[in-house]
Amino acid sequence: MKLYNTRAVRLLRLVIRSVTKAPQVTIPLFLVLAAIGIAASVYVVFYVAPLEYSYNEAGKLNGSSLFFNQKIFFFHVAHAFWLFGAVFMAGVSSILFLTDRDPVWDDIASAATDVAVAFGAVVLLTGSIWGKAAWDVWWQWEPRLTMSLLLWLVLVGYVLVRRFAGPSADRVAAGMAIFGMVGVPFIYKMVGNDSHPAAGTDGVVATLGPGMRVPFWLSVAGFLFWYLALVIIRVQSTIAEREVRELRERGLDLGVLQ
């Protein structure tokens, strides 16, 4: 199956190459977009989105309302969104890498995973703080937190394998990313979300009150640009590493280095 020759894949490869090979333009561009997006979402989340509270039947305030703490939700879920996005990005990229061994796919996979580890840490920490606010415990084995933790463990394993597995690390890590990506729906079903396995538009977003959907999607969009900016920055490191390796090999060939 000549996957690497289909038009879509060739176009994708072209886009990625042009974006990563022009860091002086693309990095500031994405950072500016991210700054605008995050600033706009912060404003909307804190000044436009309504406060979340409710009254119970006796007319008293519902003690389990989150009030101000609900604001955590917006950037917690935005990060979680792109955590999953990164996992799929790394998985698809790894599949393409294993088919044609073009280093650009490997760059994207390892960059996406690194950024996903950082985003995952944010998701887990903010989720735990939110849990403390909502349920008064720092950790709960509730579905979303559990899923994020398991995914994060797969990603950390990927990073360790890349670092310590020697010359064929890219191959092994690619295999791990693919298996990890395929495992995501199983983890989803496993933690108790046995309704639709599609994108969680019934779990999380549907329970949002009126007036909260726009801030939510706005924050998701803002953090998308932040995620892409981080991925491009991280790809520069892999490109630099490859250049170091090539220069070293040339030096060894010339007899200059040992």
């Binding site: 463990l153 394998v161 064929s168 092994v172 690619a174 295999g175 199983f186 496993m190």
Partner: protein, 226 residues
């Protein structure tokens, strides 16, 4: 079909070597038994605690011994440099991989056959109350561990620090398997066994095994390069 027969032949080769020296199976089984003994000391024996902790004990024992078995099985190939011979043999590489997976499954099942009665004996756990679903879930679990484990053990054949990297790679990927196994076992040993839950998890593990088997078959060629 031919592929399956060739895979069975590779598996039988491994098992015959194993039967002669019995090195891996003895060490795996003994390690599993040791784990069970340690658990017996580490956890309380009252019935409620036992019902809660026995599923975890069984599956942790399977996980650890499975990793050891995988490592040893492929180490043996590398030490005797027979991996190249296997790959040069006129059988498709897929048959080699499937054969290795099958022999590892047999080894893990051997450990389960020893550890489950031991657990039932030492901790007085009703693991054999419903043998049908119990056997099914353990067999499915062994298949899952072996298939995914064989892919990565073969990939890591020539990689340094492979002994520590195999668990690092394997356990996060196998978490759904362990959760399914322990949940099903827990449902079966509970005071009022929950058969709906047990069959749900058996189905879940079956689909998981099928998905990862298909994925391994697709990805195996690209990952394992000699």
């Amino acid at each position: 079909m031919a592929m399956f027969r060739q895979a069975a032949r590779v598996a039988w080769k491994d098992l015959r070597i194993e039967l002669r020296s019995r090195e891996i199976v003895y060490t795996m089984v003994f390690f599993g038994a040791l784990l069970v003994v340690i658990y017996s000391f580490a956890f309380p024996h009252e019935p409620r605690a036992v019902r809660g902790s026995v599923p975890g004990m069984l599956w942790v024992a399977l996980a650890f011994t499975g990793t050891i078995g995988l490592g040893r099985a492929f180490d043996r190939e590398r030490e005797n440099d027979t991996m190249r011979a296997l790959l040069l043999a006129p059988v498709p590489r897929l048959a080699v991989f499937l054969g290795k997976a099958m022999s590892t499954t047999a080894l893990v099942l051997a450990v389960a056959v020893v550890c489950t009665p031991l657990l039932a004996l030492f901790l007085d756990a009703p693991l054999f109350a419903y043998p049908g679903p119990m056997i099914l879930i353990v067999v499915l679990g062994a298949i899952g561990i072996s298939v995914t484990g064989s892919v990565f053990a073969a990939t890591l054949l020539k990689v340094r620090s492979r002994d520590v990297l195999l668990p690092v790679i394997l356990y996060p990927l196998l978490v759904p398997l362990f959760v399914a196994g322990t949940s099903c076992t827990a449902a079966l040993v509970a005071e009022i066994p929950n058969f709906d839950a047990a069959w749900y998890w058996i189905h879940f593990l079956g689909i998981y095994d099928a998905a990862f088997l298909v994925l391994s078959i697709w990805v195996f060629e690209s990952l394992v390069i000699e």
